[in-house]
Symmetry: C2
Subunit: 421 residues, 2 copies
């Protein structure tokens, strides 16, 4: 009967996600030091804050029952209130925002999915940094949409390159298909770059000016905003959207508190509240209420900020360990360049042209033979626009201990020398 | 700028979900007795089992940390093992099933969504009972797919009517677009019918015989299977799929344990594991791990079955209260017919033709004036096939106390007499 099986176009578009292959490779060789996965540090998982928040929920019988019952599609009001008030405070935001604009999702990822479903038809285009967050590229591909890569520098997406891209798309008659510009403004995945507000403001201005035939939204994926280990915070790009109709913010507690509780959110322009909630209603009716009450309790009891400080302290040490190892092990090889991040979970390497780092290349297999797994940087490149760079590597310092990070980077150095002969 | 806003086709297809209007109506008039929502009984929410399961998780530090970390896309293996072994036992299932075929989702609803995404392109057709679960009709509409209604009798979807529908579709050249038959075999929403296994087996046989150009799957939504208050359990329709390539099972702990924890699952034919997990990977990466570990702990500690008995005892009293009230209040009006369910959360009324029950009709408003809200049955009818019956009503006994159920049904009787003059 399988001869007559016909899957949807979406199922075809979703095939061959590279990362699942990487994961099975890592699982098959458990001695491998994985610098690949963006998992979070086990030592900073919030055991005590979770215990305390749950105890408080159980002390309030009515509240606990509410947590075990269905919630609403857009999420638990007390949590949305806490998210919004923290957002307004952190950004000294002058804009009028209402909790109607806040929707709770299964991580920021689901928010990105819901926004894609609301805005994109097959063949539509989203402009992204090249490189960018590869899981989002999968979300776009799944909807039959196209990703178009725009050049980046040390401050993120380059406004002039964005204008050039839009000009090219306009000349080709494709401007009506451009629906959004996707940014990861804070300690981005995969480069660790934080975009200055002035840079973001120029991109919002470009989005508004180029909304000639169709509105172009700016999707600001702030997943790594709290994961800052050095330097000052930067206000959200939402604060420079004076009309409040362009910027969509995605946030999450997955990295900063717990990915297992898995609560993310969006802050939406008014005109997208209905469409995004309709999509969510048709997918899951609303995220698990229990997780939402738990996160609300964590925030109401003041447990979030102190935990965040512990999280930052933990990752700060790991980032330092990785930068020291990269400096010590990789710099001597010559031609290896990297951006020094002040946050996030990743260090992005650019190698010389004679060191292709792809999954079928010599370096990838040599690295596995030496005992380390990385994410080939080529997965992080959009389909159109800027060319894919095959001599790039994403290293994550999220999961491993400082000692394992050093060992992993040393193994990578050995594999590079091996390939270079 | 909103003049240039262009949403996706999906966003247009998702508009105007009738139930959200009903909900706002209910919220706006808090004194209304709602016999509309399918929420679960607050008194049977599992406070003590949840406390006990969490205590056990906290006693095992490593287990708790695993619950707070990312999981895998298909779900926590120990939970999938528990779900599968309970399924095999309950059904005395002889088929070889592996936990690879079990995927954990945000309620059974998300499983239905993922299967739709994997199988359906816009314009594709799913055959459903008329009436059927209206939220699934929204899921289909959201994907641009069409629902085609097949007649039901007291044992559910009528096999002869299904064959007739397929014949009509074939003559119209639409058979290649038919991708699935959707069944709610246990205490269905909205009628409360449980389908005998022999009836389900005939439908599986029809699906296999009619898989001429494209495979036609049978989606068995077993959301209400555990909500049986009288009579014997019936084995799952999966047990009669000898080749194991036709039946997809959707299940959930939402009704039987807690909708707030929100853990559902699917049991998939081998060829759908990859496509469904690809979709889930692109949407949310996997359901919240904490909820999954909690449910696994509930099952491992043996807390699920005793809780289920309490749940059943609670709803048994409510079903009896509603049936007694319907008998006492509505039977005298004449011409009101209903099916006596042995489980579920609903009683389905069929009124005489002079009592249209739609949201714009006289009965709906009279009922609200008398203080009761119901779901107009017309929402439960597929787009094509069997005609919509406007003189139908879905009553839920899930949320209200027996006393409120009696008051609500009495108010409905008054409004009927009022409309009939």
């Amino acid at each position: 009967m399988s001869t007559t099986l016909r899957l949807s176009h979406r199922a075809e578009w979703a095939e061959g996600q590279p990362i699942s292959e990487l994961m099975s490779r890592a699982l098959a060789e458990p001695d491998l030091i994985s610098l690949a996965a963006g998992f979070v540090d086990e030592h900073t998982l919030p055991v005590d804050p979770t215990r305390e928040a749950l105890a408080s929920m159980f002390a309030d019988g009515g509240g606990l029952k509410a947590a075990l019952q269905y919630g609403t599609t857009s999420g638990y009001p007390a949590l949305r209130e806490a998210i919004l008030s923290r957002f307004v405070q952190t950004n000294a935001c002058q804009r009028d925002l209402s909790i109607d604009q806040v929707v709770v999702t299964a991580g920021s990822n689901q928010l990105l999915h819901l926004v894609s479903e609301s805005l994109l038809d097959p063949g539509d285009i989203v402009l992204c940094s090249a490189p960018t967050y590869f899981v989002y590229l999968g979300t776009l591909g799944n909807a039959g949409a196209l990703s178009y890569g725009v050049a980046v520098d040390a401050h993120g997406m380059v406004p002039e390159a964005l204008e050039d891209s839009l000009t090219r798309l306009q000349r080709a008659g494709d401007l009506p298909r451009v629906k959004a510009i996707y940014l990861v403004p804070y300690s981005d995945n995969p480069c660790g770059i934080t975009m200055p507000l002035e840079r973001c403001a120029r991109i919002v201005d470009i989005a508004k000016r180029w909304s000639l035939e169709r509105q172009i939204h700016v999707i600001a994926d702030e997943a790594y905003r709290e994961m800052r280990y050095e330097g000052e915070d930067v206000p959200s790009v939402l604060t420079v959207d004076d009309e409040g109709d362009t910027v969509i913010v995605a946030g999450t507690f997955s990295k900063s508190f717990s990915p297992g509780i898995r609560v993310g959110w969006g802050i939406l322009p008014q005109h997208l509240i209905g469409p995004v909630c309709n999509q969510k209603g048709n997918i899951d009716f609303g995220s698990p209420n229990f997780s939402q009450h738990l996160m609300a309790s964590v925030m109401q009891l003041g447990l979030y900020e102190p935990h965040l400080e512990r999280v930052r302290a933990g990752y700060r040490r790991k980032l330092q360990a990785m930068l020291a190892a990269v400096d010590h092990e990789l710099a001597p090889i010559g031609g290896v360049r990297w951006i020094t991040p002040t946050g996030g979970l990743y260090v992005w390497l650019q190698l010389t042209d004679d060191l292709p780092a792809g999954p079928d290349g010599p370096l990838f297999n040599a690295a596995i033979a030496e005992g380390v797994l990385y994410v080939p940087g080529q997965y992080c490149y959009p389909t159109l626009g800027e060319p894919v760079r095959h001599n790039t590597v994403r290293l994550s310092f999220g999961v491993q201990t400082p000692e394992k990070i050093r060992q992993g980077v040393a193994a990578l150095a050995r594999s590079m020398r091996h390939v270079l002969g």
